[in-house]
Structures are given as structure tokens and as C-alpha cells.
């Protein structure tokens, strides 16, 4: 019985060491921070960069993402 328990605990430890820790729904506070947004804290900076890119390359667009990843667009 003790051998079985030790074996089970060892397996669990081994498996948990190999796994990626799941982020629970209540642990997403850091992901919700403004600094985690795609465009950073200040969307104005992104606008400025886009303006510079347009001036230098005479081209715009291609930096955004359309749709929410559902494949329906």
C-alpha cells in the first residue's frame, strides 16, 4: 500500500513537473492590465508609428488583425 502511494505521488510529481501551469479564470488580473494590451499603455504611440511608417514607405495597413479568431470572417 505504501509502495502504491509513493508510486502514485511520484508519478503525480513527475507529471506536474512536465505540464504547463494553467491560468485559472481568477488569476487573469495581470493579463487584464493596461500594459498587457497589444498597443501598450498609450495607443497614441502606435498612431505615431503608423504615421512615420506611412511617410517613409508610402504604404499603410497590414498591422492589424481582423476578427476574433473564430474563423467566421
Amino acid at each position: 500500500m505504501i509502495r502504491l502511494m509513493v508510486w502514485s505521488m511520484g508519478t503525480l510529481l513527475l507529471l506536474s513537473g512536465c505540464s504547463i501551469k494553467e491560468v485559472k479564470p481568477w488569476e487573469k488580473g495581470d493579463l487584464a492590465m493596461d500594459i498587457m494590451q497589444y498597443e501598450g499603455l498609450h495607443p497614441e504611440v502606435k498612431k505615431f508609428e503608423a504615421h512615420t511608417y506611412f511617410s517613409k514607405e508610402a504604404s499603410r495597413g497590414g498591422a492589424g488583425v481582423a476578427g476574433g479568431g473564430c474563423g467566421c470572417n
Binding site: L4, M5, S8, L12, L15, W26, G29, A32, M33
Partner: protein, 147 residues
């Protein structure tokens, strides 16, 4: 070999089990939340970073303010000061439990966030996972069913 595999699976399952509808809260948890006998409680988990909570909490507060039932809010912010500021901002008058170490929510283990539980005599009668529109109307409808 099969026994070993089964015992491993059982141990793994036990560690990820959530409290679900029909289950009884462990007695220490009932004591911690100060749940009284024969009273129906609405227990709402929320956090300051949760945008849906900002919409739902003022509506849930109306349930408490109109004395429809007992409401307990559980704030799961890791930084308690952020939670307290959030509660103050929304002027929540119902009892708030600060779960800064997230021990309570790790016991309930809801599948989504925010989550609301109806609890009577320690038993989970129903849960609402995720935000919904007009939560106050939904709670009023549920309360009629339970009473």
C-alpha cells in the same frame, strides 16, 4: 498496474474538483463565511480588474439594498488595497470577504469569472458562471424559485 493507474487518476481528479450545484460546503468554509441556518445567500466572486464585475456589482448591490436576500461579496484581488478601493468606489454595503491569498476561490474553483453562487444551509443551490445582462432580474427570478 491498472490499480496504480486508477489511483493516480483518482488523486489527480480530486485535486482539480470544483464545488458544484448540489454539493455541501465544507464546515470550516461555512464558518469562515458566517453562513446562518435557513438563510439564502448570494455569494459573488469579483475582482477590481474584471470589467464585467463593474457592470454586475451595482446590480447585485440592489438585491442587498432592497433586502431581497443575504449577499456576500468575495474579492479575489491579490492586492487587498485594490479590492478595498474598488469596493469603496462602488459603495458596496453588503459584507465583503477579502480573499487575497485566493484560498476561497481555489476551494470553489469556478469554471469562469465572475461567478455567483446561491447557498442555503451550506448547500449550493445554483451557480451562474460568467457575466450576464440584467443579473438583478435573474437573481430575483431565481429567488422566487428557491423560496
Amino acid at each position: 498496474m491498472i490499480r496504480k493507474i486508477l489511483s493516480t487518476l483518482l488523486l489527480t481528479t480530486l485535486s482539480v474538483m470544483a464545488l458544484e450545484q448540489g454539493e455541501i460546503l465544507p464546515q470550516p468554509l461555512q464558518t469562515q463565511l458566517k453562513l446562518e441556518k435557513d438563510k439564502l445567500y448570494v455569494i459573488d466572486f469579483f475582482a477590481s480588474w474584471c470589467k464585467s464585475c463593474k457592470k454586475e456589482l451595482p446590480l447585485i448591490a440592489t438585491i442587498h439594498d432592497n433586502n431581497l436576500t443575504e449577499v456576500i461579496g468575495i474579492n479575489v484581488d491579490k492586492n487587498r488595497e485594490e479590492g478595498e478601493a474598488f469596493v469603496k468606489k462602488f459603495n458596496l454595503k453588503f459584507p465583503i470577504v477579502y480573499d487575497s491569498d485566493q484560498a476561497l476561490i481555489n476551494t470553489f474553483k469556478p469554471l469562469g469569472f465572475p461567478t455567483l453562487y446561491y447557498i442555503k444551509n451550506g448547500k449550493i443551490l445554483k451557480s451562474i458562471v460568467g457575466a450576464i445582462d440584467a443579473i438583478d432580474l435573474q437573481i430575483q427570478k431565481d429567488l422566487k424559485e428557491f423560496k
